[in-house]
Symmetry: C2
Subunit: 284 residues, 2 copies
């Protein structure tokens, strides 16, 4: 999400053909932000801009020119800003990728369905000493997420689900998403995480200046909280994690991130109200 | 501090002689709470009730009947509720302990001077995964407190100092306290902690249900925040840590702990306003 702005500018300036542009992942309201930048520079281009709820692969960079794909997820949700044209998306995908994407009802579903903001930020902030200590490494998911942390994540996740409900397009819990995407067993979020084979070897960050904070707070939790508070949803767990990130990194992520103003509310661009209006009845 | 209530009841019921009772440590407003329970049960007893800013020793229980004293601190502040009789305290101490205590100006100084609430709570909450993972142990101070955590602690500490100022009895910073008590070198709180030989082998808790949370949040941070907010001091770092503890342990530490009501504000008992009125001019 940190590169969306630059990529939108580059494509906006140079793209001649109509294409399908997939933000994989969009994080929260990525397609909306991308659309506004791209269309300003290239208003006549009819490219479809879509966002995925998360990446379709779990992977790690293992060298400057090597990436290790640890798992391919099934049925990652995908949507454009206009759900009435979403049916065209599936056929436009390369056949080999088709089973890994699933057409969503609305980009509300892909944006609020962003599970990275739940799984990434809080565990790092609940393991700062371990993260910053150069003598220790740990596995982000299976060692860093303890039972108390997993319970906290469930409560944060409840806030995310409540926001999706108030936007009229309910998303599944992170627990259900894990079971569906990775086919893991378990009776709680903690168990589903611990039992996920794809998570066994994922190292934790060794600094707070990592995308798990620098991307997922401003482009995930900040817009989630902004929309939730606008609709008077209890966002106290989400708020706590943003406050913690702000204080530990001495950054104002709410000012830098996708806050309501930054989402184009109230000006002539595509904005969140349009997305809400445009959601299909099936969402409700 | 979790035992103060029971000890005050026991002594209140059975103590016949006038003695010196030292709460070592009192945590925040321990002498005030102890006094109110004790005097209700034993109003004629003239025992002096004093509180220490912290314990005079750094120690760990190593078996059911063994304690290892890692260091004896110098000049730990000590005060009764009535600073005009504090001069009697020194001579009442066993000679071998005299150098380890220093007579304070007021119990505001010993209560707000409680450094445990700064050094204990936040590092545990910033290392929850490490703490709860049974496969790993770590040293609370020298491994658990990273540069970012130490910076956060300095900001929490600024809030504590601001509360002491508003109460008219300024206390020293945790950094100065470490240098004075342990004679350590260092240019920042982080360096002073890392360089403290007495801290090298102090293990971290392996559960959140440890006195670093269960005692230091309700009997340290909660009264500090309550008094600070009453006087409109910015307590945002302290607030964040109490909120985190509440949410991670699913406990309302503000309701359970030494909040303003619990400190006897407004009823006939000794209360905080009396302490403030009674502080000597030298405090100001």
């Amino acid at each position: 999400a940190t590169a969306h702005f630059n990529v939108a500018e580059l494509l906006g300036k140079h793209l001649k053909k109509d294409c399908l542009i997939i933000l994989n992942p969009g994080r929260t309201f990525g397609a909306l932000k991308f659309h506004n930048i791209f269309k300003r520079l290239n208003p006549d281009n009819q490219s479809l801009i879509a966002e995925a709820q998360t990446t379709i692969y779990t992977s790690r960079k293992i060298a400057e020119d090597h990436v290790l794909i640890l798992a391919l997820k099934d049925e990652v949700l995908l949507s454009t800003l206009d759900p009435s044209i979403n049916h065209r998306l599936h056929d436009m995908l390369p056949p080999i990728l088709q089973k890994h994407f699933k057409i969503a009802k609305s980009s509300i579903q892909t944006s609020i369905g962003n599970v990275g903001m739940i799984l990434h930020c809080a565990p790092v902030l609940f393991n700062v000493g371990w993260t910053e200590n150069s003598e220790f490494n740990y596995k982000h998911y299976v060692e860093g997420i303890s039972p108390s942390i997993a319970k906290f994540l469930e409560k944060m996740d409840d806030e995310r689900i409540a926001v999706s409900k108030v936007l009229g397009c309910e998303v599944e819990t992170t627990f259900s998403w894990l079971k569906r995407s990775y086919h893991v067993e378990g009776d709680s979020l903690y168990e589903a995480i611990i039992n996920n084979r794809a998570y066994q070897n994922i190292d934790a960050p060794n600094t707070l200046e990592h995308r798990y904070i620098m991307e997922d707070v401003p482009f995930g939790l900040v817009p989630l909280e902004a929309v939730g508070l606008y609709f008077e949803v209890d966002m106290s767990h989400t708020t706590l994690i943003i406050d913690l990130a702000n204080k530990l990194l001495d950054v104002d992520f709410r000012a830098q991130g996708r806050n309501l103003e930054n989402l184009g509310m109230g000006n002539g661009d595509e904005n969140l109200w349009e997305l809400i209006k445009r959601r299909p009845a099936a969402c409700e």
